[in-house]
């Protein structure tokens, strides 16, 4: 068997299998500076979501709920198609619907984007996370939350350029799409890709997915979508969930998909310069105090000071007010 599954459509083998990747395949681990280098490089995987083929059936959402055994609360109809109305700690993926009037053709276009973790090559969540090992990245590109290490601080939310992680109010731990790391580890593709009836969601190696996307983009261009393209944003080092967009020049029209996502400079400076300068400043302050304490004589009250105070209180003459005693 190859190290990473090549497709999501194959059926699982009937015999039990050992997990194909794990802790020895980590390329990044949150709040861990001395992570040993991985012993091997797994073939990078990716999920490709072709929005032009999506029919909005939400089979992906159902498959996600079923595989991950989450139970989203029953929602209320507020007059929109999104259900639930946002990603939650129990809903790792969400079809976002946008009604968009194309100004060039005056056609109403119904844009449907399956939202969820993008599995960034440079993950902002992992950069922001203060808890060792709560967020990990494998050499195949999957970014995963290890819930037993999560402390529920919400730093991942500040780090994420896509507004994906959600903190559970019940257990105070952060949740998001795992790219079905547990399925990928046994040679299966993600549940959403497996369930998708139009194969708008496909899964395989990142190279294969880029090639597949190129074919889809050529097809879309031949059918009048001149700006069709692949969404694999370089600002976060590329992603392991990619979109084929028929209007790739305007990603924001797809429910505010960011045009050039990157880790916020505020987060970068918080986790970078602030940390190092801050530790240095506190250290210098402490060392400075110790050095002064060792080398300078303590500021002691003298016998004369006490006598002057006694005289003052008793009304006897003392040195008058002035600059010097």
């Amino acid at each position: 068997m190859s190290d990473s599954p090549r497709t999501a459509v194959s059926n699982p083998p009937t015999q039990p299998m050992a997990s194909n990747f794990g802790e020895r395949d980590l390329v990044r681990r949150s709040a861990t500076e001395d992570l040993p280098p991985p012993e091997r490089q797994l073939t990078p995987v990716a999920k490709l979501i072709d929005v032009s083929k999506c029919i909005g059936c939400k089979a992906c959402q159902s498959a996600c709920v079923e595989w991950n055994d989450t139970t989203p609360a029953i929602g209320e109809n507020t007059g929109v198609y999104e259900n639930p109305h946002d990603l939650t700690e129990n809903m790792f993926t969400l079809m976002r619907f946008t009604e968009w009037v194309n100004p060039e053709t005056d056609n109403l276009e119904w844009l449907i984007r399956k939202d969820g973790c993008m599995h960034c090559a440079d993950p902002g969540c992992l950069k922001a996370c203060p808890a060792p090992g709560a967020i990990v990245q494998y050499t195949n590109g999957i970014v995963d939350f290890i819930h037993e290490n999560c402390i529920g601080c919400g730093y991942c939310i500040k780090g994420c350029p896509f507004n994906i992680p959600r903190i559970s109010k019940a257990d105070h731990r952060s949740y998001k799409c795992t790219l079905c790391s547990d399925r990928v580890a046994v040679g299966q593709g993600p549940a959403c890709a497996k369930a998708c009836p139009t194969q708008a969601i496909v899964f395989g190696t990142k190279e294969d997915m880029k090639q597949h996307a190129a074919g889809r983009i050529a097809d879309l261009k031949s059918r009048g979508f001149a700006n069709a393209g692949l969404y694999d944003p370089p600002g976060v080092g590329g992603t392991h969930v990619m979109y084929v967009l028929h209007h790739a020049d305007k990603p924001q029209i797809y429910a505010n998909l960011p045009e050039n996502p990157r880790i916020s400079p505020l987060v970068q400076s918080w986790k970078g310069v602030t940390k190092y300068v801050g530790l240095a400043a506190m250290g210098m302050m402490a060392v400075g105090s110790i050095v002064h304490g060792v080398f300078a004589r303590p500021n002691r009250v003298s016998r004369e000071d006490e006598e002057n105070a006694e005289k003052l209180v008793e009304g006897k003459p003392v040195p008058p007010p002035g600059e010097h005693a």
Partner: protein
């Protein structure tokens, strides 16, 4: 106008003379604030850098550290601001503060005889008072903004990014001010008892806050009910 003598300040003759500097209420608030600040620094530093994450063990793990830290912050905020209203009038700036600051080398060198006579607080103490006030305000506002469990729904993510950066910078600064405060209290011998017993010796007041001592002694002579 700076409050030169505060309610409860009084001088008692004896050998040595003792001077009441802080009442029981002020001391209680000071130590609640101090304990909270130390706990906040430890739990905050644990989440500030991975090399100090082990400090979470003091609070019973990462989840507890995350849960307790903001509540301790609320305690500090409340106790500090009661304390603030007890002290602020005596910490207003005066002209003599500029003279004192211009001779900061003599201050650090302990050459007190070259410094002007001072009221209840010197410019260094006033700096610590106002720095703590400003930083605590910044910390409580930014801290509430990033209090995930209760306030996440009310603050946008871009605002939370600003808040977490401001919170970290303010925390670093307040820890520096804290170190300065603690060191100054140790180095200036005879100071700690002002916050434990509430009194200082007359000699201490003569040496460091002579104008304040003269005011108190003068009050004693003219005061009707002593």
């Amino acid at each position: 106008m700076v409050e030169r003598v505060q309610p409860g300040d009084a001088v008692h003759p004896g050998k040595p003379v003792t001077v009441n500097r802080y009442g029981a209420g002020a001391r209680l608030n000071h130590w609640i604030t101090a304990t909270s600040l130390i706990l906040l620094a430890l739990s905050g530093l644990a989440l500030f850098t991975p090399s100090l994450y082990f400090l979470t063990a003091l609070f019973g793990g990462g989840q507890n550290t995350r849960a307790f830290h903001p509540w301790i912050g609320v305690v500090l905020f409340l106790s500090f601001f009661i304390f603030f209203f007890q002290l602020w009038k005596a910490n207003l700036p005066e002209k003599v503060d500029i003279v004192w600051l211009s001779r900061i080398r003599d201050v650090i060198g302990g050459r007190e005889e070259r410094l002007p006579e001072l009221g209840k607080y010197n410019a260094g103490q006033k700096f610590i008072f106002w720095a703590m006030t400003g930083l605590i305000l910044l910390l409580i506002v930014s801290g509430v903004a990033i209090w995930e469990a209760y306030f996440a729904a009310y603050v946008s993510i871009p605002m939370r990014r600003v808040a977490v950066l401001a919170h970290s910078v303010a925390a670093v600064l307040i820890i520096c001010v804290f170190i300065l405060h603690v060191y100054a209290a140790f180095w200036t011998r005879g100071t700690l008892r002002a916050m434990t017993r509430g009194t200082v010796t007359g000699g201490w007041a003569w040496r460091h806050h002579r104008k304040w001592l003269r005011d108190l002694a003068g009050q004693r002579k003219t005061g009707p009910a002593e």
